[in-house]
């Protein structure tokens, strides 16, 4: 443990100065300062992000055995502040900002090493603890407008501290989901593709699976069971499955009911007899994911793709164009921006527009800020209904390291 630095912040003056300027920018734009708790119930993260969080977060137990963690980000803690507020009085809209330390393991686990961007450790200083300043807009607002505003404000904050030389990377998960919706295929496949979108390898595997005859590797007896339940009613199918278990002397143990097991088997049985997904459809998905172009050129490329494939993407495209216009109208220079269809796949809770700001010519190491839309998070954290949310955070330690000897 002797490699732990004694100070949380290597250069306190630079950091204070940065934090001050960034906070003032947020404050001036009408955002309200909040101070979420540093210690969070681990359960929230475990339910939301899953066990993978243990690979990068300080999770520990108190003497009651309750699991707590040091916050690995500030988005979830800020969302909890908002939810708590909604329980007290029905405040629906909120524009919040924060600034403070977050905590991550400096080690990388082998299996989790494909993560990058927001998850990466800061460039120098105390690698277990680093500061983030960020904003969140919760509640119903015109989506594209809120997105343009968040990006603009993030850029303003960076300008305020003297950083102007950066690239913007953008993506839009909403476009991908719209594309899936427009392609004709069984709903269960669409769901599988959508739910596995951020898992690169798995997604490829599913695409390959769907493109082949669904000759799953079942043993003879199971195949005949699947045949039996194809096109059967749920009730009939359950009888067959129950009978199969009885002949094999397999008892029904655990939480899952016969109905649940049968339901999943019916889906597999349907796959067994379905025609594979046509190569043209797979091709559209692949072509879309290959798109990487200046944001202003993307509209036309998508239009082309949609027309060749005979898909109706009008709504999603309109929203995309509208956002581009709004970004231009608030003087965001899209000349050094790049839209990448794949971008945003790595962050599980994003649902739409995503962006990342990188210091010019620095690659991932130059990543200083990022954000995006995450419309499902509040509901899954306990808010009774879905609520739009978008936010962004600046990695202050990274920023301090980059500015060091550069501007300030």
């Amino acid at each position: 443990m002797n490699d732990m630095s004694a100070s949380a912040i290597p250069d306190l003056n630079t950091m204070k100065n940065l934090e001050d300027k960034v906070s003032k920018t947020f404050e001036k734009a009408g955002f309200e300062h909040i101070d979420p708790a540093i210690m969070q119930p681990a359960d929230v993260y475990l339910q939301q992000i899953g066990e993978a969080i243990r690979g990068r977060t300080y999770v520990f137990s108190d003497i009651n055995g309750d699991e707590l963690c040091l916050r690995p980000d500030l988005t979830v803690p800020a969302a909890r502040v908002y939810i708590e507020r909604c329980e007290e009085h029905s405040a629906e809209k909120a524009r919040l900002y924060y600034s403070g330390p977050t905590f991550r393991y400096p080690y990388e686990e082998p299996a989790a090493s494909e993560e990058e961007g927001e998850q990466a450790a800061p460039a120098h200083g105390n690698t277990r603890e680093f500061r983030q300043a960020g904003i969140e807009i919760f509640g119903k607002e015109e989506k594209e407008k809120a997105e343009a505003e968040v990006l603009k404000l993030t850029l303003d904050a960076l300008k305020e501290v003297g950083t102007t030389d950066f690239n913007i990377r953008m993506g839009d998960l909403g476009l991908f989901f719209a594309l899936l919706d427009a392609i004709d295929m069984p709903d269960r496949w669409r769901k599988r593709l959508a739910e596995n979108f951020w898992r690169h390898e798995d997604f490829q595997n599913i695409l390959t699976q769907l493109s082949e005859p669904h000759n799953l590797e079942y043993e003879k007896e199971q195949r005949s069971l699947l045949k039996k339940i194809t096109n059967e009613s749920q009730k009939e199918a359950e009888l067959h499955v129950g009978e199969y278990l009885a002949t094999k002397a397999i008892p029904l143990i655990g939480t899952r009911t016969l109905e649940e097991i049968t339901n999943q088997l019916i889906i597999k049985a349907a796959d067994l007899t379905s025609e594979p997904l046509e190569p043209e459809k797979i091709d559209i998905i692949k072509k879309y994911l290959e798109i990487s172009a200046p944001p202003k050129a993307v509209g036309a490329r998508l239009q082309d793709l949609a027309e060749t494939a005979g898909l109706d993407l009008t709504k999603a495209l309109d929203r995309y164009q509208k956002r581009i216009e709004l970004l231009a109208s608030v003087d965001i220079d899209l000349g050094n921006a790049e839209f990448t269809a794949e971008f945003g796949r790595k962050f599980e809770y994003y649902t739409g527009f995503v962006f990342q700001i990188e210091k010019h010519n620095m690659g991932p190491e130059g990543h200083i800020a990022g954000g995006g839309r995450y419309d499902h998070l509040l509901h899954s954290l306990g808010l009774p209904k879905n609520m739009p949310a978008i936010g962004a955070a600046i990695n202050l330690d990274r920023l301090a390291a980059l500015i060091d000897g550069d501007v300030l």
Binding site: E51, A111, R192, D202, G254, R256, Q264, E348
Partner: protein
């Protein structure tokens, strides 16, 4: 103080006996010092080697911290307890006993779940219906997390289980398990089935060296001597 090499060996049961046999067959006689129930030992004829008898998981821990130079313990315990294992230790030799497969096993009645991919597909449905993630009982929290991440399975929570893990699905504490098995009998008795691609690790007893231990002085040389014996054919 004269330089010595510290080797930790399992302090009880089959592992202790087989370790002792393995060493003896190659001309290294392990013997306890003092009371038979004590935990200090030596190798006959080697004044510069200390033998310490420890539990198998304590051996993994002390390999990580470098308190011991070498140790005999299960590969599963080393990989579970040491993050960044290749920087911390070196696997010197598989010893050919203490075999155990670390596996993912589900209730046999889950006819719809044959692979890790099936598990993830079902996990999403499960979460929608039960408002919670699948619970996986195991004592291998790190290995499980790494394997599940590799297999792109995310819809689960780990419930730490320190014993009788195979019984947890039937008892309702967990939905599936990650545990060691050698013959598969206990799994079968508890109506569990290993997933087709659910073999996480084929483990056996290993001789492992710590990279964190102090090797300067005489320890490295004594190690060479001991290793040449251990690598020779058994008598």
């Amino acid at each position: 103080m004269t330089e010595t090499l510290t080797i930790a060996v399992p302090s009880k049961g089959r592992l202790m006996e087989e370790t002792s046999n393995f060493f003896r067959a190659r001309g290294l006689n392990l013997q306890k010092i003092g009371h038979d129930r004590g935990y200090q030992g030596e190798i006959e004829g080697y004044d510069d080697v200390d033998i310490v008898y420890l539990s198998a998981s304590e051996i993994a821990y002390q390999l990580k911290t470098g308190q011991i130079h070498m140790g005999v313990t299960g590969e599963d315990l080393v990989r579970e307890n040491i993050i960044g294992v290749d920087q911390k230790v070196e696997f010197l030799k598989k010893l050919g006993f203490g075999f155990a497969d670390v596996v993912v096993a589900v209730p046999d009645c889950w006819l719809d779940v044959r692979t890790m991919a099936d598990l993830e597909e079902m996990a999403m449905e499960f979460r929608r219906r039960h408002k919670r993630r699948l619970k996986v009982a195991t004592k291998y929290m790190n290995l499980t997390r790494q394997f599940f991440t590799k297999k792109a399975v995310a819809g689960y929570r780990i419930v730490e289980s320190l014993g009788a893990t195979e019984g947890t699905p039937m008892g309702g504490t967990a939905d599936l398990i990650v545990d060691i098995t050698s013959t598969g009998e206990t799994l079968e008795a508890n109506h569990l089935r290993i997933l087709d691609d659910g073999l996480m690790l084929k483990s056996e007893a290993n001789l492992v060296a710590s990279r964190a231990a102090e090797w300067s002085g005489g320890a490295a040389e004594i190690r060479l001597d001991i290793m040449s014996k251990l690598n020779s054919d058994p008598v």
